[in-house]
């Protein structure tokens, strides 16, 4: 299927000839497959057209036309993951990169309003000038700054900066039928500070702990909470890419990687650090991730991985302390040291004894920029288990269980052997947790078959052992596997989809579709 002349012209009339294209050269650049969950095929199905809208009015008109023409549409911000892609003919892409304004930063009430084309780095850099910070997608600050665009929205900063589902304030939503809905205070007063009400909060309809992955309309502006930033207004760097050394960030900041004898001790440390409210960041970092982050090449990564393997167990935490004052820093450091003693945490000397490495890591994790190193440099592709959210230990245990299946894939030489330790995330001073298992592989049919087998087993573990609905569950197929065990939530989700998108215009293969 390709757009007929009438259809193309109708879209063109909305955005102008410069901002729509159906040329194969343009289309193929969008259908080159993402490195995330990369299948052996090079390309996903082509979009019928790529459209680059600039305003709400344009998007509304495009969405309404899509409904009229029985076409589907899919929006994207930076367009990284596979969920940005078409899965079949008949879909137009709305690339929102031209919608890239920071609308407002309110210092006293600590929120910011962004369009989806603003990336995390930009918002963070502007916030830091004002002594504030915003949560960042763990994928990196190359992702959209909008709290409702990334997949879950957890990241390095979530210990003190929560995550998308909870940072979201007012929101501008163009429904799958093209209506503009302004959530909360925005709809009633035009201000951005609140996303809930009047009455029940529509935030609940448009996302859960994961977003609808392009399957429920278009989010054109969103307000997000901001947090205090105890660091400098900008960070000075020395050196040249890929080895930057921050020179102005050491004041009141400290970074450690601790290795614990077992999961129980690591969990205890996570809880104690959380309850003491001392960490600006707290993540379960493993040796593979640390090596990939610090190294500037795969060769160097291998060496570091070997070095860390002798020093770190599979149960490690990365902690960053950010003191709000000299005295606060002193107190938090003292508490951290005591907790490490109480939980038998051993500090990785590469970090604690080398100020350059420490400063480098700190900045790469405060402005998360090295996730690409971490997950993609090794093979260009990664997949794996993206757990859900609940309490930290449950999520960590899930990953430990799925890691056993990963180990088998390593033994079968289907994936990169980086061991199989969990990667976990502590959220809101330990109140919540999240876990993932990183799997790096080179996509070919047998590895891919192995991956699919792994995913099936991971699903089975989640369901049988009651670990909740993981974040990687998108698509009808997966929802239909989980739903019957999870209060038939898939039926409810489908009802929302159906109510707001009766024509199934918002391409929902990575969310849910209206099929029964």
């Amino acid at each position: 299927m390709t757009l007929n002349k009438e259809q193309y012209t109708a879209f063109e009339d909305i955005v102008g000839p410069e901002y729509i294209s159906s040329d194969p050269a343009i289309l193929f650049s969008y259908s080159w497959r993402s490195g995330l969950y990369a299948p052996p095929q090079d390309f996903s199905p082509l979009f019928e057209a790529i459209i680059l809208p600039h305003t709400n009015e344009e998007i509304q008109a495009i969405v309404k036309l899509s409904n009229k023409f029985k076409l589907q549409f899919k929006a994207s911000s930076t367009g990284w993951g596979p969920y940005n892609d078409a899965t079949a003919p008949g879909c137009v892409k709305l690339d929102l990169r031209r919608m890239n304004r920071i609308i407002e930063i309110n210092v006293k009430n600590m929120y910011a309003v962004v369009e989806p084309g603003v990336i995390g780095t930009q918002l963070q850099a502007e916030c830091m000038k004002l002594g504030l910070n915003c949560n960042q997608n763990g994928a990196g600050t190359n992702c959209s700054a909008s709290p409702i665009v990334g997949h879950c929205g957890f990241g390095h900063l979530s210990q003190s900066g929560s995550y998308g589902e909870r940072n979201q304030l007012a929101l501008e939503w163009i429904t799958p039928e093209g209506e503009l809905v302004c959530f909360g205070s925005l709809g009633s007063t035009g201000a951005w500070f609140c996303g809930d009400g009047p009455g029940p909060s529509l935030r609940g309809a448009v996302r859960g702990n994961v977003v609808p992955m392009g399957g429920l309309g278009v989010f054109t502006k969103a307000a997000t909470k901001l947090y205090h930033w105890p660091g400098p207004t900008s960070v000075e760097l020395e050196g040249v890419s890929p080895s930057y050394v921050p020179t102005s960030i050491d004041n009141h900041f400290l970074i450690r990687i601790y290795s614990f004898p077992d999961m129980e001790m690591m969990d205890q440390a996570q809880r104690k650090i959380g309850e003491a409210e001392i960490a600006y960041e707290l993540m379960g970092f493993n040796k593979g991730m640390a090596a990939s982050n610090i190294a500037t090449s795969n060769e160097e990564m291998l060496k570091l991985h070997a070095e860390f393997s002798n020093l770190l167990t599979d149960f490690c935490l990365m902690v960053i302390i950010g003191g709000y004052s000299a005295r606060d820093f002193e107190y938090k450091t003292k508490v951290l040291n005591q907790i490490a003693i109480d939980t038998q945490g051993k500090s990785l000397t590469k970090i604690s004894d080398d100020p350059e490495v420490a400063a480098g890591c700190m900045w790469r994790w405060l402005r998360p920029t090295a996730s690409i190193r971490e997950v993609f440099r090794a093979t260009g592709c990664f997949a794996g288990e993206v757990g859900g959210t609940d309490v930290f230990r449950l999520m960590a245990d899930y990953i430990v269980e799925t890691a056993k299946v990963k180990q088998k894939m390593i033994n079968d030489k289907l994936i990169f052997d980086d061991g199989a330790p969990p990667f976990t995330q502590s959220i809101e001073h330990g109140h919540y947790g999240h876990g993932e298992l990183l799997i790096r592989y080179i996509p070919n049919p047998s590895n891919w078959a192995g991956m699919m087998d792994f995913m099936a087993k991971a699903n089975e573990i989640a369901i049988k052992q009651h670990f909740g609905v993981p974040g990687h569950v998108f698509s009808d197929m997966q929802h239909d596997i989980y739903g019957p065990h999870v209060m038939n939530y898939h039926k409810w989700l489908r009802k929302i989809k159906k109510s707001f998108d009766p024509n199934g215009a918002s391409e929902g293969s990575h969310h849910i579709t209206v099929k029964e």
Binding site: I26, S29, S31, W80, G140, L237, P246, N298, T369, T379
Partner: protein, 423 residues
């Protein structure tokens, strides 16, 4: 190298978009986050480094046809500035710019390069300059300098002015001052009245054979001369002699230096003394081919080790833009009394391109000017009075951009600044 050789690099692209942005650690505000002029101007993903690699795979898979006009528009609306390559390699072990060069080479082979470029290549093949306009006489610029002709007399130092300087009268002063400064420092310098084109720009435009041929013929004659050093004030020539010729396996037995490097050494050694005050606040623009692309070529021949990790046998050291020429021009500027150097947000390895490279100035001057205007605005935001750089290509485009935008900025070649303080 053929495009097929880069399949692994291209299929390593994870679609992260890092190539659209400055290395993210460096950003200090909302502005100046973009690094790629092409996607910044044309917006479709196809115009980014990553988009181009996807297109490369589609070409290899025969999903796309080399004859497509849109393909030509995409492939040639790119300055080949290499910024995408640097930003990508902050994190990744893969080539970006090299496959992009290979795609252009295929475009040429398939006869789908822009006609304007073909015209320049014909000129190159005929021993002429790679210019569409500007036709000042060959060695005229040096007629009053009393400088040796290295094709006739032996010299220690060759000064290669470059086509863009020789054939544009407005650039002559820089070349003349270069020679005068050398003379002041008692350097045994020579020029060629009939200077050959370096051919470097042919490579960026996709004419790899022509560039390699030119490199070989140039080196045949230059190597014979026995000079110790080749100095050039053009970043593109610098890149050709230093990096490209090395890549082509015709590296000369002499050192290649940019004027900023050469003169900085002389100043550091006390052979030139900038004593006159130059009361200016300036910002320095790193030309792409002197900065990130100016880093030495690294020869490597090997293959990817089979298995689930991208490593190579023998190990491959990637050129990440780390070792470009960044400090010498800055040191030189800082040695000028009275002069204050302020940095633009995007500098060194993540400098924004002036806009003229990759044949863009010839094929899409409007886009070239758009790119330069972005840079001029960035320079103006530093409150500098002047932009200093080290490439005639950047300089003339900046001047046009300033004129067209009514900006109150001056443009200097770094040699002009040194000359003000020294001559």
């Amino acid at each position: 190298m053929g495009l097929e050789e880069f399949r692994d690099d291209m299929t390593t692209c994870c679609r992260c978009s890092a190539c659209k942005f400055v290395p993210l650690e460096t950003l200090k505000g909302y502005d100046h986050v973009n690094i790629c002029p092409s996607i910044s101007r044309f917006d479709y993903r196809a115009f980014s480094g990553g988009g181009r690699l996807g297109i490369g795979v589609a070409l290899l898979d025969k999903q796309l046809d080399y004859s497509s006009p849109k393909l030509r528009e995409i492939i040639y609306n790119c300055q080949m500035c290499g910024a995408c390559d640097v930003s990508c390699k902050y994190a990744m072990d893969m080539e970006v710019l090299e496959p992009m060069n290979a795609i252009r080479s295929e475009m040429v082979k398939h006869g789908n390069a822009p006609p304007a470029l073909d015209k320049m290549i014909t000129s190159l093949k005929n021993g002429g300059p790679m210019l569409l306009e500007g036709n000042a006489g060959q060695g005229e610029w040096a007629s009053k300098l009393g400088v040796k002709d290295y094709t006739k007399q032996s010299v220690q130092v060759i000064y290669h002015a470059g086509c863009r300087t020789r054939h544009d009268k407005t650039r002559w002063a820089v070349a003349q001052q270069t020679v005068k400064l050398m003379q002041k420092a008692n350097i045994d310098v020579g020029i060629a009245m009939d200077e050959p084109c370096c051919g470097g720009r042919a490579y960026q435009m996709g004419y790899q054979t022509e560039a390699a041929d030119k490199a070989r013929s140039n080196m045949e004659s230059i190597n014979k001369l026995g000079a110790k050093t080749l100095v050039t004030g053009c970043a593109e020539c610098y890149f050709a002699f230093k990096v490209l010729y090395d890549k082509f396996g015709v590296k000369g037995d002499f050192e290649v230096l940019h004027t900023s490097e050469f003169f900085n050494r002389l100043v550091q050694q006390g052979k030139l003394k900038p004593t006159k005050k130059v009361n200016l606040t300036v910002t320095y623009h790193d030309p792409c081919h002197l900065g990130r692309q100016g880093e030495p070529y690294i020869h490597w021949k090997g293959q990817r080790v089979p298995g689930q990790l991208i490593i190579f046998d023998p190990p491959k050291e990637f050129r990440r833009g780390t070792k470009g020429v960044y400090e010498p021009p800055r040191e030189l500027l800082q040695s000028i009394p009275g002069l204050k150097l302020v940095e633009m947000d995007r500098h060194k390895e993540f400098a924004w391109c002036c806009g003229s490279g990759g044949g863009v100035i010839e094929t899409n001057p409007e886009y070239a000017l758009w790119t330069a205007t972005e840079r001029i605005n960035e320079a103006a935001s530093t409150k500098a009075e002047a932009v200093v750089t080290g490439c005639p290509g950047c300089e003339s485009l900046f001047e046009t951009a300033i004129r067209k935008n009514n900006k109150n900025l001056k443009v200097y070649d770094i040699v002009e600044i040194l000359a003000m303080a020294t001559l």
